[in-house]
Amino acid sequence: MKLTIAYFYPQELNLYGDTGNVEILAARTKTRQMDVEIRKVSVQDKISKEFMKEINLLFMGGGPDSGQERMYLDLIEQKGPYIKEYIEEGGTALFICGSYQLMGEYYRSADGKKLEGLGIYNMYTQHFGHEKKRCVGNIVSKVNNSILQDPLFINVNNVGDTIVGFENHGGRTYPADDVEPFATVIKGHGNNSEDGTEGVYYKNTVGSYFHGPLLSKNPHIADYLIAKALNLEKLSNLDDTIIKTAHSALVKRFGQ
């Protein structure tokens, strides 16, 4: 049993500690005596259908504007179609912040420029410039019901129905009505600070604004992704005492 993680654009999208998500996925898998391989995919690397068949978890983070400028065309023109097919066929993936935005229909910047996304998630993102404040702060949310009711999630969930992290985004994301959010905001901004949604849950993928990184204080989400990726019904228990204590303390401090 081997978890093969494709880590897209690690140099370009490397802000806010999101790289920790890959470290955490690897650590939680290795502790369970399973193999892990991390394949970094950068702008200059070519990928193929075979490559996408060999991986079982795809991760992409968020980055500074310069980083996003460097990977944007490569994503749209080269790698995008492979990622789209991977997701539509049920591949497991996690997208954070900047890369999450790029999975939508488009991103409109403060000066009105429209950047096409991959159109996998039915949503768009708008940056309102100085009109609306940047969404920054600690965030607590409740995982969406269809995840909570998923037997797989119930099997791996050792934490509860909350997630906790930090968000820092200028763009506001508006998912279409029929799109399932990843979570419902308890305290914080989430997608757009208006409709109470946070992130998107689509097929076997999660898109989210959570930094922290997301998986650091939310081991149930980490294990959910690992179990999905490896096609397992459950995972052996890890000693998560300290992580659960941290999770509850943060939910208590920032969730009210």
């Binding site: 490397n14 802000l15 806010y16 500690g17 999101d18 790289t19 920790g20 470290e23 955490i24 650590a27 500074p64 504007d65 310069s66 920054v136 702060g137 600690n138 992290g165 930090f166 820092n168 930094h211 922290g212 990184p213 650091s216 204080k217 005492t241 300290i242 992580i243 204590t245 941290a246 303390a249 943060l250």
Partner: protein, 382 residues
Amino acid sequence: MYVISILLTKIVYRIINILNLGAGYTWPGHLVLKIYPGIISEIKNKLPDKVVFVSGTNGKTTTVKLIKHILEKKDMKVMTNSSGANLLNGIVSSVLLASDLGGNFSYEAAVFEVDESTLPPLLKDIRPSILALLNLSRDQLDRHWETDIVLDKWEEAVANLGEDTVLVLDETQDKFEVISRSYKGTISYFNDDRKFLYSTDLKGSFNAKNVNCAILTAEKLGVRKDEAARSLKDFEFAYGRGEMVREFDKNWQILLAKNPESMNQNLNMLLEEGIDQELVLFVLSDNIPDGLDVSWIYDVRPELITKVCKNKEVFVSGKRALDMAVRLRYTGVDVSGQNISENLKNTIEKISDMDSIKNVTVLPNYSSMLEVRNILVGRKIL
């Protein structure tokens, strides 16, 4: 108006100190700027010929202290701002506090550490004789946002600087290329060569850069390099930046680690030097001067944490102690439950009671560093 501003600054400073409300280096300037925004251009005219600005993510405080040390050894009267006062209000406060009531400023040189985001607006009003730029890396993203944004603003500010300023730059920072390209005046470069570092008690390649930057800056102000290096023999660490404190029968070395780069550099230095500390204490808080986001601890190189903590007693403390404990756990370092406490005072008391421990390494972020010093030394600042 200038004399009134000085008077006001001195009175507010006195009141803050009598009431023990803080160091008093920021509020007076804040008030003066509110009442009289023109104060900056007045200050400009009062400053001496030798004005140095030092900015960058890491190393400002140490570098300013090094420059001051070298110049004072040449019998120059040097004014600096204290490191907690590197925003506009702090800079205004320190100049006015250093002036006499007749409006006279009697220092021969003024060396300021300037916050990265304060630098561009400040450069519009005051053109220093030397602008030393140390580095730029991820720090307090919820305040500075991305380094790219800071770099863009620096580039613009430097391009509008005229040609009278000498730019002193770290040549190992690839990011600074855009700055070199947009500046029309003189640029001098320093690197991490360790020749001069060995004439000080400082350690680590980041300190080699700080020392080289200071010596190069002093050279531009007329001090010979070898002479400057010699004068650093008795240089003492800036507070919380490698500083050694002897207390409770133990040696505590305080190494400010407030962002991924400074944590990496300090861990690297500990590994290079061979650590004889038996105990490592991480202190992580999310007070306003730290920024609210602690996710940066995952941008620290995990293998450095693992190596430094190997066979050591490890403690974590501060408001985000649990976050740090989780982070350490993912590098393979398990901190036992009894070594985790958000209460720093309790943690330090507990460590003090451990007879077997003689040497402690403390890696605190910014507000935690002030708190550690407050507990060990008794005062928050110097």
